[in-house]
């Protein structure tokens, strides 16, 4: 294993894992968050538990690689294998501390689209929400993971599958959207926060990335930490050797992370 070289996705997993606090109940979806939870509970968050919309509740990493949340290693020695209504009711009761989301598009206020996009005036159908809309509406906070591709950053999503901060300001309260909305976006190039108005700003750049390189990827004037907080733009901490080892244990063939 070469700890000096890691993939963008490995970095995203490491960054996502840090967003799970110890004791959190984390709503884990497909792909990278599956691994991020396993890393978090193996390192700084031993008391975190994960819930999956399929009905699975776990307090530890699965015993083998997971293609999906329903692979048998995720069911085996789970705390509970129950129903979707059970899991979604925890979400609706406000008991999910952090939920993970992805998207084909994200806009200035963290709204996400996984339903349909337009490419060269042709409409492209995407798979749809899954549980994303529910997680976006009802989690105490959400963390978004996305490949850093300019076409994904839009002023306003074509279709608002998973509400973020809407049109900004007190939009969530006005629209009765219960949860806290997006708190962090991790792309393959940087980590972003959302300011008091719910607008995206760049918080830290991943190693080797500079601001000029990504600013043009956004069709609006991208805010930075320097404008929003007193802190300058940071440098995203690379994954530690221990964390990389764990990622490669949980995804031994790099199916999701390479």
């Amino acid at each position: 294993m070469d700890a000096e070289s890691y993939t963008d996705r490995e970095l995203m997993v490491a960054a996502a894992a840090r967003e799970i606090d110890d004791g959190d109940v984390a709503f884990v979806g497909m792909r990278l968050p599956l691994i991020a939870f396993q890393v978090a509970v193996s390192t700084h968050a031993p008391d975190a538990i994960s819930v999956f919309e399929s009905g699975v509740v776990r307090d530890d990493p699965a015993s083998d690689f997971l293609h999906t949340m329903c692979d048998l290693p995720n069911l085996d020695r789970a705390l509970s294998t129950t129903s979707m209504i059970d899991i979604m009711s925890r979400l609706q009761r406000g008991e999910i501390d952090v939920g993970f989301l992805g998207g084909a598009e994200i806009d200035r206020y963290g709204n996400l689209n996984t339903t349909r996009v337009t490419s060269r005036s042709r409409e492209i159908r995407l798979p749809g929400s899954g549980g994303a809309c529910d997680i976006a509406c009802l989690s105490q906070r959400t963390v978004v993971l996305m490949a850093h591709e300019p076409r994904r950053f839009v002023e306003r999503v074509t279709y608002n599958t998973s509400p973020g901060h809407g049109a900004g300001g007190d939009w969530r309260a006005r629209e009765s959207v219960a949860g806290g909305g997006p708190e962090t976006l991790v792309t393959t190039k940087a980590t972003f926060g959302f300011d008091h108005d719910g607008e995206l700003y760049v918080k830290s750049l991943h190693p080797g990335v500079n601001l000029a390189e990504i600013a043009d990827d956004f069709p609006w004037d991208l805010k930075t930490a320097a404008e929003v907080t007193d802190d300058p733009i940071g440098r995203t901490e690379p994954p530690s050797v221990d964390v990389l080892e764990l990622i490669r244990e949980f995804d031994p063939n790099g199916f999701w992370t390479r």
């Binding site: 699975v56 294998t81 979400l91 492209i124 159908r125 899954g130």
Partner: protein
């Protein structure tokens, strides 16, 4: 003696009429009744409405076979690879109508049907275009607090098809592992087809009544189909065949490939036994975890 509802899968699926609204693939990636879906394709049961939360390939296959008019679901694709190409083509070509749901809204729709009420209220959906675009979802004011809520109306499928580990000939079934919205859909449906990995003596079911997920009064037919969920996993029996999902993605990227795939894996295969011979992979659970003992008695 109660009546046995056991029949072969072909006869059972034959009872599902063209034009039916069918809920299947309800436990997410787990326990998907692929064998029954393939039988629908062989029987060319068309004009279907498909209902489910996410449908890991199954809906894409039925759409590929041009049997589906409408999908009411939260996500349609291939969890291993992302896109379901046939679903995508059908929607983009305008041949398939989609009612967009979230997982919770489809779950609540079926739960409302299961509870025998016209709708259930939720705090989800609000603020999303899923809510805005569909006038079946209604806005309501909570008469107690004045809070804004969304109402999700009941869905009552004509048929629900589920795959379970074991069932009695009368239709009482044990299930374990995550269930998604499977049993809400059974309760909501007019008719239920149980595809069981194994048909067992009624006494096996009665030895553990808290494991019973379905009772006979909801069940129309029971078919025994070992490996009937492949390539989906079934708790305690066999793991997910991820290669199969990836191969499907590779081979169904265009229409010709799709036809070839359907001919090879569905139309050209008489039944599940032949299909599993063709698969020729050992997916059995190799390291079983035995559930802690439970007793009832008097």
């Amino acid at each position: 003696m109660p009546q046995s509802k056991v029949t072969d899968l072909s006869a059972a699926v034959g009872r599902i009429e063209p034009g039916s609204a069918v809920a299947m693939g309800l436990a997410l990636e787990h326990a998907i009744p692929f064998a029954a879906g393939h039988e629908l394709i062989r029987q060319e049961t068309d004009e279907l409405t498909l209902i489910g939360p996410i449908s890991d390939l199954l809906f894409d296959q039925l759409v590929a076979a041009d049997l589906v008019d409408r999908v009411r679901a939260a996500w349609v694709g291939n969890v291993s690879s992302g896109t379901g190409y046939n679903f995508r083509r059908a929607v983009e070509d305008g041949g398939l109508s989609v009612e967009n749901h979230s997982n919770f809204s489809i779950a609540l729709s079926l739960k409302a049907g299961a509870m025998g009420v016209p709708y259930l209220p939720t705090r989800s959906l609000l603020g999303s275009d899923i809510f805005e675009e569909n006038d079946r979802f209604r806005e309501a004011e909570d008469p107690y607090s004045g809070d804004r809520l969304a109402l999700v109306p009941a869905i009552r499928p004509d048929w629900t098809v589920v795959h379970v580990q074991r069932a009695s000939p009368y239709g009482d079934a044990h299930f374990w592992g995550n269930s998604g919205v499977a049993f809400e859909a059974v309760d909501a449906a007019d008719d239920t087809l149980i595809v069981a990995e194994e048909i067992v003596e009624p006494d096996v079911i009665k030895s553990d009544p808290s494991r019973t997920a379905i009772t006979r009064d909801s069940v129309t037919a029971v078919a025994e189909v070992p490996f009937g969920a492949h390539p989906a996993p079934l708790a305690g029996r066999y793991n997910r065949d991820n290669e199969f999902y990836l191969d499907y993605a590779d081979e169904t990227n265009d229409e010709l490939g799709t036809i070839a795939w359907l001919n090879e894996w569905v139309r050209g295969v008489p039944d599940r036994e032949a299909y599993m011979e063709k698969i020729d992979r050992d997916l059995h659970v190799s390291e079983p975890t035995v559930a802690a003992e439970v007793e009832y008695g008097r």
